[in-house]
């Protein structure tokens, strides 16, 4: 992996898009440098992570943690909307949506 070619500023721009963060050219280029530095180091993990080593996604293994299907405490609409940047009646107001799905 360490041989992998460096990330370009255009790729970082795509990542910023995926992460929904508007970025200036300047930010993109400084971030591109940082990312390449970091990745050049951390890419080593794939060398030790061999086939036979299982992944640990939870440091303390648990399973089958479930909740009974019983209604609990809820928020009122007023509480739900108290922190909203914009609201109309009992609904949140969001700017027009262009993409779909």
């Amino acid at each position: 992996m360490s041989e992998k070619s460096a990330i370009t500023s255009a790729e970082v721009a795509h990542l910023a898009d995926l992460a929904r963060i508007a970025m200036s050219e300047e930010e993109l280029s400084s971030l591109t440098g940082d990312l390449n530095t970091i990745l050049a180091n951390v890419a080593r993990v794939s060398e030790v992570a061999t086939e036979d080593v299982p992944a640990t996604s939870h440091p303390i293994p648990l399973s089958n943690v479930m909740r009974e299907d019983v209604v609990g405490e809820t928020l009122t609409a007023a509480e739900a909307l108290a922190g909203a940047p914009a609201a109309d009646g009992d609904k949140f107001v969001v700017p027009q949506i262009l993409g779909e799905d």
Partner: protein, 493 residues
């Protein structure tokens, strides 16, 4: 291009993703009520709103329902499975990721038998069934069309956010030929019936409890590789499913004929025109960056629990249909009519209350359905199986004839009591008084010498011509069999 030409020239392949909202008491990952009605943004907790610091916790009943669905679809239930985060930004997705399952669905590798109108059975292969959560609801405001484009802003209600869903994904369904639209809608109808039989969802299409995404692609021949597919999202009625598939087949065939290519995209179906229109083109923006949900731990459904659920599964619609067909001796066509009319339960219960299958079918699909239609109601709202069985019993015992029974039924529907009560109350019982009947028979014979002559001459069908006057004279309460006996006796005397 005509549909017939399109399917003559190309082999359609369909694939269907069905989302069903589970009828649990609470949401998938929090204890907010899973219910509609009430004000907007009231069935919410910090979890359903994705507030900072909120964490999910899995609804045990939702898992149970998912396992039941998996078992009913003949799936394997995973030894161990996990939730994953599907990351994408959209205002009705509170966390900007949907908690779903990705490479570890709870159920996989199943199949479901789907019966078409002509009785043909198609086996639809199921790839997987997985658990996930629903999104909130946007209302678009300010646009002229009310559709997303042109809207100036949207109002969001998160009551639906976090409602438990099971998504069932088929493998490509091949070999349907021209039947593709019907296979698609019959498949979704079959699933709907299964959800109801399992009691895991009310499965009301019109309420959006069941939503189908329909993939369609064409290929020049059944042995050619799969063509590029489109995915028509959220088609919400059986008729729409058929129309959407038909439309896509014709549209894609026209493109291919013109030497153009089908674009891999999502499409939207329009009820008004029966057409689909392009949505979003699939691109690398569809990089959902799935990874295992670190706030939830793996599910390892205990094998004994699965076996317990398996043994507790209700009889599924297809099995039940097959069983009743054998027991009742109806024709395939009669059976299909009963199922389509939603009368299977009523008839089965009427039979178990003592009626013959033929009588139960006759009353439910006949007079009761006719009256229900008149009032725009469901047959089951008009009478109970026990009442119908009683009605049949009275006819069997010779106390009512058809005509009287219809009057009794009307009384039952009007709330006058059981058939027996109505019969007594309205004085509708068949006249047993042979004196009155004898008098009516004598009168009829005296008034119709020509008919009597025919009967004497051996034309026994002519007896019918005397029945009218007899019934008239007895206000319909005469026992027709008895009257017939008396006529023959009198004429031959």
């Amino acid at each position: 291009m005509k549909y017939e030409d399109a399917v003559a020239k190309y082999d359609p392949v369909i694939g269907i993703e069905v989302h069903v909202e589970l009828g649990t008491a609470t949401k998938m990952f929090d204890a907010a009520p899973n219910s509609f009605g009430g004000g907007a943004n009231t069935n919410v907790t910090p979890v359903s709103l994705g507030l900072p610091g909120a964490l999910p916790s899995v609804n045990r009943t939702a898992v149970e329902y998912a396992v039941k669905i998996g078992l009913a679809l003949g799936c394997e239930i995973a030894e161990s499975c996990r939730f994953a985060r599907k990351n994408y930004f959209y205002p009705d997705v509170p966390k900007n990721f949907q908690t779903s399952q990705y490479d570890e669905p709870i159920a996989f590798d199943g199949s479901v038998d789907v019966e078409l109108d002509d009785g043909e059975i198609i086996t639809v292969p199921i790839e997987r069934a997985h658990m996930e959560e629903d999104a909130g609801k946007n209302t678009h405001v300010g646009g002229s069309s009310g559709r997303i484009h042109g809207a100036e802003y949207s109002l969001v209600d998160y009551n639906r956010a976090g409602v438990p869903l099971v998504e069932i994904v088929t493998r490509p369904i091949t070999g349907t030929g021209a039947g593709a639209p019907e296979v698609a809608s019959s498949y979704v109808r079959t699933l709907r019936d299964i959800f109801r039989a399992l009691g895991v969802s009310e499965a009301r299409m019109e309420q959006g409890n069941v939503r189908a995404d329909i993939n369609v692609s064409l290929r020049p021949s059944p042995d050619a590789p799969l063509g590029t597919r489109t995915e028509t999202k959220n088609v919400n009625s059986f008729r729409s499913i058929e129309r959407a598939v038909r439309f896509e087949i014709v549209r894609q065939a026209e493109l291919l004929d013109a030497g153009e290519t089908v674009v891999q995209e999502t499409r939207h179906f329009h009820e008004d025109t029966g057409e689909t229109s392009p949505g979003r083109v699939k691109s690398d923006a569809d990089d959902y960056r799935y990874f295992p949900e670190p706030d939830l731990v793996p599910l390892v459904p205990p094998r004994d629990w699965i076996e317990e659920l398996r043994s507790g599964l209700p009889e599924l619609p297809a099995e039940r249909r097959r069983r009743l067909l054998g027991e009742w001796g109806f024709s395939e066509l009669e059976m299909r009519d009963i199922i389509n009319a939603g009368l299977l339960d009523a008839i089965e219960q009427t039979v178990s209350a003592g009626a013959s299958p033929a009588a139960a079918r006759k009353w439910w699909t006949g007079e009761i359905s006719r009256l229900a239609k008149q009032d725009d109601r469901e047959p089951a709202e008009l009478a109970t199986p026990v009442q119908v069985a009683e009605l049949a019993e009275l006819i069997e015992a010779g106390k009512l004839n058809d005509k009287l029974a219809r009057k009794v039924l009307a009384g039952v529907i009007a709330g006058e009591g059981s058939p027996r009560d109505v019969m007594a109350g309205r004085g509708l019982e068949i006249v047993e008084d042979t004196g009155a009947l004898q008098e009516a028979v004598e009168q009829a014979i005296a008034d119709n010498p020509d008919v009597v002559e025919k009967i004497r001459g051996g034309k026994m069908q002519a007896i019918g011509a005397l029945m009218g006057p007899i019934m008239k004279a007895t206000r319909g309460q005469a026992d027709a069999g008895k009257a017939r006996e008396m006529i023959i006796e009198r004429i031959n005397a």
